[in-house]
């Protein structure tokens, strides 16, 4: 039985494991990342704790050269089963700046990112923009429109954030599944055109 065990498995089990696609939702503290992940996810947003070891470089304290610091970071994530062979996982990045070092690990293997911006505090997404630009991770900007916020036109946001002309900027309501899903569609189309124009 061990040798022809495949014959008594369901067709789904006989095929290869699905492909996991990772997208990130980043942005400043309280901008709506968890809300966004929850809106598009087919499951209640889940949370996991990941332990990260980081050399303590880049911190104020450089006395302990070579020291390793271990930090536990809670991550929200959601899942969308795209088809039997493809599962999308959407990870919300931790909002606090002190966890910036985590993003390297988080962004490994990520297809792309949505940077959420709040028009009341546009500058809060600068660290995320810098990070993805430096990493070469493809991203788009989604302006999460809070009622109390000033309404900017996308081109005003582009100017304020000094974004390149090819980076899509969309407005959304992170609480609305359709609106949030449309943001991911825009990101995917951006990834496709980036892939088509890359020489790789």
């Amino acid at each position: 039985m061990a040798y022809n065990g495949d014959s008594d498995r369901s067709p789904a089990q006989q095929s290869a494991l699905p492909t996991a696609i990772k997208l990130l939702v980043a942005g400043g503290f309280g901008v709506g990342k968890t809300t966004f992940v929850g809106s598009v996810s087919e499951i209640e947003p889940l949370s996991t704790e990941e332990t990260i070891t980081t050399a303590s470089i880049g911190t104020d304290d450089l006395t302990g050269v070579g020291d390793k610091t271990t930090t536990t970071v809670a991550l929200d994530f959601g899942r969308i089963t795209l088809d039997p062979q493809h599962i999308l996982y959407l990870f919300g990045t931790p909002g606090q700046d002190r966890f910036w070092f985590m993003w390297n690990e988080l962004s490994d293997g990520a297809f792309g990112a949505v940077v959420l911006a709040d028009t009341r505090r546009l500058e809060d997404c600068f660290p995320a923009l810098d990070f993805f630009e430096r990493r070469g991770t493809a991203f788009i900007v989604a302006v999460n429109e809070f009622e109390t916020g000033y309404h900017y036109e996308p081109e005003e946001v582009r100017a304020a954030l000094d974004l390149k002309p090819n980076i899509p900027i969309v407005c959304c309501d992170a609480r609305d599944p359709r609106s949030a899903t449309l943001v991911l569609v825009t990101l995917t189309k951006h990834l496709m055109s980036a892939a088509a124009s890359s020489v790789r």
């Binding site: 089990q13 494991l17 699905p18 599962i87 293997g109 297809f111 899903t181 990834l191």
Partner: protein, 123 residues
């Protein structure tokens, strides 16, 4: 993927297939290379009743393909612990796992199309 399809030699090992309290033994390094997004699925070679509590619970979750992150969330255990637990299950042939490498190519046209179609179906 295929390199993880090794079959356990159940009949040659009469002892417990998973050492009972591996997690609480303080071992923190998983033997299989797993990250948050590695997908795992049970092979059907072992029943949960053959395993200790946490391993059995993890194995039950693995009936359908599931990520390390999801197993961690459902069992309310840190990802690091889950990686050790799942790699025990890989070692004894109870689950098959996707290694994180080689990473999926983010410019892969087929995968991007699957992503677009899957999202648009939800609109």
């Amino acid at each position: 993927m295929a390199d993880f399809e090794h079959r356990p030699l159940l009949d040659e090992d009469a002892g417990p297939l998973v050492r009972p309290y591996t997690v609480s033994n303080g071992r923190t390094a998983p033997t299989a290379k797993l990250d948050l997004l590695s997908l795992v699925r049970s092979t059907g070679q072992l029943r949960p009743s053959q395993l200790e509590a946490e391993h059995a619970e993890a194995l039950i979750l693995c009936r359908e393909p599931i990520s390390v992150a999801e197993v961690s969330a459902h069992l309310r255990l840190p990802a690091m612990v889950i990686k050790v637990l799942l790699s025990d299950l890989v070692d004894c042939g109870a689950v098959t796992a996707h290694s994180p490498d080689p990473a999926v190519d983010p410019t892969d046209k087929t995968v991007l199309e699957a992503l677009l179609n899957g999202l648009q179906r939800r609109l």
